[in-house]
Amino acid sequence: MGKQLLTNLRCHLLFFSRNGLLLAIVVVLAIHAGTGLFFSTLYESHTNRFYTIQEVTGMINGYSFVLVAALGILTIFSHLRDRCLKMVFTRPCPPEVWIFSLLLAIILVAAGLALIALLTGTTLFLVWKIPFQSGLVFVCMNNFLRSVTLAATLTFMSLLVHPVLAIFFVAAFQERTLFFFWMTTEAALRNVSTPREAFFSALGRNLARFFYYLVPIQEPFQEVWAEVSRSWVVLARDWLRLLLLVGYLMVFCSFLGILCAELLKRKRLV
């Protein structure tokens, strides 16, 4: 099992490194980040330079988020299109091993990209002689966790529906949007005047509530951490919450991994 996990992990990493679309995203990321970094060296004041570090790492994190999110969906799409998964599953290699090695490969790439953002930020702090802010580590780690959560969700969705639909569903059915819709219909239900309005408001409210409970939580502490993202000042309780988020991610990825394996077993691979 361990040997198969490592073999598949290596194979996934080779796929990532040789996929043209992923390489194009990396090139754009490098050019954009490099250009941003070049122009930022023109600033003089420490305050501006601090914001520049936030901007540059934010940019790297943003691209990493997109790149990591694309990994799972591209792997699933490409392997199903090429119908090569039958070469894996007609060996004593269960779909669970293949899917967990994919999630592991995604985690490794996400960790690598988070490290790049962290090292870039740290280097800029050192070069510009600005006191190091622990918020940089926090933001990079948070972005790492967010991107892996999204990648796992998209991997699962791409096994359910076409990848384009998967992206659409994940973009459209976000917890915040659904919560807003739920609250809106809840308010509307209190002000209805006809039975017909009441029926449709109740229907909308129930649908919003159903999907709100159904969709996975991408960022449980988004509201709480808005200030941390802005100031890069991290309190002890924020680190504790981050630790909780790591636990959440592990449970979430394991759950989706099991669901993905079940879907792969039922998928027509020929």
Partner: protein, 305 residues
């Protein structure tokens, strides 16, 4: 060892229609058999193989391989090797990486050195670093053969069109390896359109049409000898009417004669001072059996009709 009983499987055609891919498909493959699954295009040969491998689930009937039902990633696959019909491999891997990857998914696989020997045997040594996406069809087929052969614990080989796109030398080499494996106790079940190849290696065959087996028998029973002889001799100005000439060229005459006329034929040659090139007991070929089943006297109708 491998059994299918009354297997039925349909594929959706359009929104409302269905196609019977397997329609009461039943076969029995015994340990040590080299079993040929034959039939015209669309007869259901590959579908039958996918069903054996657990890649497709039948709507009814039962399929058992080594006494169990295979499913994706089943532990039983350590005793099975499979070559798919189409080269659906990991195209982003190089030849060497692909062979190594597929091998490492087996608990007991050929070592790196043995893999290199296999690549050498099939003429892929110089293309080890070539990505599969850039390989020719024949090269991909060779990779397919190697990835099937790397499973050292294989007791059953499922081969779907194994020699498709291969050159004659590689085909002959693969045939030798396959027969050697069979001598060691490996059971082989193969789909093929190359009937001459099936005649050379199989001991049992099933001929399929429209998802069902129409003939399942020992090959020797299908290739029964006739009471006629194929003969070839020097051209003669006149040939007696009891010699049925099939082909006449500038250098020879090919004909068929009955067993009763064999002494008369030798008398004729002696008297006419003609040299005999060939005289062999005529056997029904698999191709003739196949033609007879699917064309013979049915006015273009298939056997299922």
């Amino acid at each position: 060892m491998i059994t299918a009983r009354e297997v039925r499987l349909r594929f959706r055609k359009g929104l409302t229609g269905w196609i019977n891919a397997l329609d009461g498909f039943s076969v029995t493959v015994r340990r040590g058999d080299i079993y040929g699954l034959l039939g015209p295009n669309g007869a259901g040969k590959s579908t039958a193989m996918y069903t054996f491998l657990g890649l497709l689930t039948p709507e009814s009937g039962s399929v058992e391989v080594l006494g169990e039902k295979l499913f994706p990633g089943s532990h039983l696959f350590q005793r099975v090797a499979y070559l798919p019909e189409e080269p659906h491999y990991h195209l982003y891997l190089t030849v060497e990486e692909a062979v190594s990857y597929y091998a490492s998914l087996y608990p007991r696989a050929a070592s790196k050195k043995q893999q290199a020997v296999l690549m050498e045997t099939f003429g892929l040594s110089n293309f080890r670093r070539l990505k599969l996406a850039r390989c020719s069809k024949g090269m991909k087929q060779k990779v397919g053969l190697i990835q099937a052969l790397v499973n050292e614990a294989a007791e059953i080989f499922f081969l779907d069109e194994p020699t498709r796109g291969l050159d004659p030398l590689t085909t002959a080499r693969f045939r030798e390896i396959l027969l050697e494996k069979n001598r060691q106790g490996v059971t082989v079940i193969l789909n093929s359109h190359v009937l001459a190849e099936v005649e050379m290696i199989c001991n049992r065959v099933a001929i399929m049409d429209r998802g069902k087996v129409v003939v399942e028998d020992e090959l020797k029973h299908l290739l029964h000898p006739e009471n006629n002889y194929d003969v070839e001799f020097e051209p003669a100005a006149e040939v007696p009417e009891w010699i049925s000439v099939t082909e006449r060229t500038g250098s020879s005459v090919k004909a068929v004669i009955s067993q009763e006329n064999l002494p008369n034929f030798f008398d004729f040659l002696r008297q006419s001072r003609l040299r005999l090139y060939l005289c062999a007991l005529k056997k029904t070929t698999l191709e003739e059996t196949f033609k007879h089943l699917f064309q013979g006297g049915s006015g273009g109708k298939t056997v299922a009709d």
